[in-house]
C-alpha cells in the first residue's frame, strides 16, 4: 500500500477512534489479557499488557493501528513470552465466516487481483492479462452471505444453550468487521478446558465424527426402537427433523434405513452433517492463545467496525458497522462489481477517477480496489 493511501486510512481511522471511544469496550479483567496491534504495512506487535481503558485509548492514539487484538485467554503475566505467560483460562470463542459456507453467490462478488501485474478481474483462477496463477482474492460479501452467516449463528446458539447448558446472557455475538460473526461465551464451565477438549467441543458442534450407533443403527441385529424421535433434545431431535421430516414419515424412513444397512447409514450421517452441523472455523475455537480483533476496533480488511449485535435479525453490517465520516475524497477506483454502504449503492467502477464519501473510499482502498487520486 502506498504512503498516500496509508496516510488517508490512518487519518480516517484516527478520527473514528477519537470520536468513538464509547464503542471500544475494554474486556473484562483487562490487566490479565494480552493485547496486540498491527500498523499498515508492518508486522504484528503483541504480548502487550494494559491496565485499563485509559491505557487502551492511549494505544490507539499513539499508534493509530490498522488492527487491534485482544486475547480470549487470561494470564498471570500477559506481556511475557508465550511460554512464561502462565495461562489461566480462556473465553470460548467461535468464528463464523461467510467464506467457509460454500455459498453459490460467492463467485458473483469475488474479485481476483493479480500479484504479478495487479490486474483486477472478476473471480478467475488465472490472470486474464499475464496468465499468472498467483492471485489475491477479495470478496465484497453480499446480503445473502450475511444472512447465511446469521443462520449459522442461530444454529450455534441453539446447541450452546440446549446441549451445552450455556446461559443466553453469557453469549455475545459480534459482527467481525468483514465477512462474518464472532460468538463469545463468557463464564461457562468451559473456561478452563484446553485445546484438545475444545477441539472435541468443535466436533460436537459441527456434527463431525458421528457413528451410526449414536443414532440407533447397529451393525448386527439392528432394532427400530433405538432410532431417535422428534421430541428428543439435542442432536437426536435435530437428526429426526432433518432425516424423517415429519412424524408420519418416520416409520417408513426407518424401515428404509434398516434395509439399506450400516455403511449406507454412515454415508447418510456424513451428508446430514453438512446440513445440521454448525459451520464454525475449528482452528479458531481450539486455539487458546489466540488474539482476537477487539470489539469496537476497525477491521482493516474493510474499514467496518467489529461491533456487538444486540438484535441479530435486524442487524445490517453495511449500515450498523459503518462509522466513518461522509467527507468526500477523490479516488482512482477499479472495482468491477457493485456494493452498498449506508444504504447507498456504489460501483461498478472500471479504472475511473471518482469522488466518494470517506467510508466508501476506505472500503475500496482496504480491499485494494482503489487508491487516492
Amino acid at each position: 500500500m502506498n504512503e498516500t493511501d496509508i496516510k488517508f486510512l490512518e487519518d480516517s481511522f484516527k478520527k473514528y477512534y477519537f470520536n468513538h471511544f464509547d464503542l471500544i469496550s475494554s474486556p473484562q479483567r483487562t490487566p490479565e489479557r494480552e493485547f496486540g496491534y498491527q500498523k499498515f504495512n508492518s508486522g504484528m506487535f503483541r504480548h502487550i499488557s494494559l491496565k485499563d481503558d485509559k491505557e487502551l485509548h492511549l494505544l490507539f492514539m499513539q499508534n493509530i493501528p490498522s488492527d487491534v487484538y485482544c486475547s480470549n485467554a487470561y494470564y498471570s503475566f500477559p506481556n511475557s513470552p508465550m511460554s512464561e505467560k502462565d495461562w489461566k483460562e480462556a473465553d470460548l470463542i467461535f468464528d463464523i465466516d461467510a467464506k467457509d459456507l460454500d455459498l453459490s453467490c460467492r463467485k458473483n462478488h469475488t474479485i481476483s487481483i493479480c500479484n504479478e501485474c495487479n490486474e483486477v478481474s472478476k473471480d478467475v483462477n488465472q490472470c486474464e492479462k499475464c496468465n499468472s496463477t498467483k492471485l489475491e482474492k477479495k470478496s465484497l460479501p453480499c446480503k445473502n452471505c450475511i444472512d447465511a452467516s446469521k443462520i449459522e449463528v442461530n444454529k450455534l446458539s441453539n446447541v450452546l444453550i440446549d446441549d451445552l447448558g450455556i446461559d443466553k446472557e453469557n453469549i455475545y455475538v459480534y459482527f467481525s468487521g468483514n465477512e462474518g460473526f464472532h460468538v463469545y461465551v463468557f463464564n461457562s464451565q468451559f473456561q478452563k478446558i484446553g485445546s484438545k477438549e475444545r477441539s472435541e467441543l468443535v466436533d460436537y458442534i459441527m456434527f463431525r465424527g458421528v457413528i451410526p450407533e449414536t443414532f440407533g443403527m447397529k451393525k448386527f441385529k439392528p432394532n427400530r426402537s433405538l432410532f431417535p424421535d422428534f421430541n428428543q433434545k439435542g442432536w437426536n431431535g435435530r437428526f429426526s427433523k432433518q432425516v424423517f421430516g415429519s412424524k408420519s414419515k418416520r416409520s417408513k424412513i426407518i424401515s428404509e434405513l434398516l434395509d439399506n444397512g450400516y455403511s449406507s447409514f454412515q454415508k447418510l450421517l456424513d451428508n446430514v452433517s453438512e446440513n445440521i452441523g454448525v459451520k464454525i472455523d475449528p482452528n479458531v475455537t481450539m486455539d487458546i492463545h489466540r488474539i482476537f480483533r477487539l470489539p469496537g476496533s476497525i477491521n482493516s480488511k474493510s474499514g467496518l467496525t467489529k461491533i456487538l449485535c444486540t438484535d441479530l435479525t435486524k442487524f445490517d453490517p453495511y449500515t450498523d458497522a459503518c462509522f466513518l465520516n461522509d467527507d468526500s475524497v477523490e479516488v482512482l477506483a477499479n472495482c468491477p462489481i457493485e456494493f452498498k454502504l449506508k444504504n447507498k449503492k456504489f460501483g461498478p467502477y472500471i479504472n475511473e477517477k471518482i469522488s466518494l464519501p470517506t467510508y466508501a473510499a476506505v472500503y475500496l482502498i482496504c480491499k485494494k480496489l482503489a487508491i487516492i487520486a
Binding site: 511460554s83 492471485l135 466436533d203 465424527g209 492463545h289
Partner: protein, 343 residues
Amino acid sequence: MLVLGQDEKAKYPFLADAGEYLKDKGFSLVQFGSDPVLKLSVEKALHRIKVAAAGEVYKSDLIDGQASKDYVLEREVFSFLLAIVLIKLTGMSTLIKRFALAEARRAENYLEKDLGNASNKSKIDLATRIIYDLFNIEIIKENDFFVIPVSDYLKHSVTFHEREWKLINRHVENGKVFLTPDKTVRLIRKELGNYISSKIINAPKPSMIPGLENIVDELILISKKLTPTYTIITGEYPPCIKHAIDVLEKGENLPHSGRFMLATFLLSRGQTVQQIAPLFKNAPDYNPRVTFYQLNHLAGTSGSATKYTCPSCEKLKTQDLCFITKECDNIINPLQFGKKRKQ
C-alpha cells in the same frame, strides 16, 4: 477422608494405607519371606502380578464383592501390598504399568457393580465418593444414568481413541453428559491406573527380603520379555501424508490443518525446517517468511519452545485428511505407519 469397611478394603486395596494396615495386623515385611503361612500371600501376590503382566484381570476370592472370611479379606489386601513390594524390588517400570492397569480394571469392575446396584444407595454413594475424592469429578445419579458436566467428560475422554467416546456420540443435554455405570467407570480407568501407579512409584523401595530373591528374579525375567521394541521396516509415508504432498505439488490449496499435519509429521521423522519449507513453495499463498516462522514455531525453535506433534488418525478423519489404506494396519497416529511391533 473416606472411611472404608472391610469389604471395601479388599475391593479397593489401593485406598488403604499400606504401612498402617500391616502394622495394624502386627506383621513386618521380613516375615513374608520366611513364614510358611504368610508365604501363601506371597504366592498370591506373584500370581496377581503374573496375571496383570499377561494383560488379564486378577480374579479375587471375593464372592459378590464380599469377603467370606476374615482371612480371605486379609489375603486380598496383603497380596496387593506384597505385589507392590515385589514390583518395587524388581525396579521394572513395565510391571508397574501393567499391574496398575490390571488393578484399575479390577477396581473398575467393582465400581461398576456398586454404581449399577440400584437397590443399595450406600454402595452407589461410596462409589461416587471414591470418584469424587480421587478425581474431583462430581457424578449425579439421574434415573438409570449418571450425569457429569461436559467439561469434566472432555477432560477425561480426549485421550480415548475409540470414536464412541467422542462427545458427539454421547447423549448431551443442558451441559451434562449422560453415562451408563460401565461408561462412567471406564472414563476414569486411566486416572485410576495413574493413581495406582503413582502410589507404587511413590512408595519407598524396600530392601531385599530374604527368601524372596527367586521370585523377584522370575518377575524381572517376565518383565524383560514384555518390553516391546519398535523397528522401522519401511521409510514409506502414510497415505494422508502422500496425499498432502500431492496436493501441494499440484499447486492446489492444502488447508491449514493439512499443512500442520504434514509439517509436524516430517519434523518428527527428523527432517529440518530447511528441508521442509520448499514443499510449500507451490502453495497459492506461499510466503517464505511466514512459512519459516510457522515451521520454526512447530519445531519449537521459536516462540513457546513447545514441539508440536502430528495429530492422531482420529483427528485427521474429522478434518477430512485421512485416506486410510490396508497398509495403515490399525495405527492410531500417522507416525506409526510402517513400524512393526516386534514382541
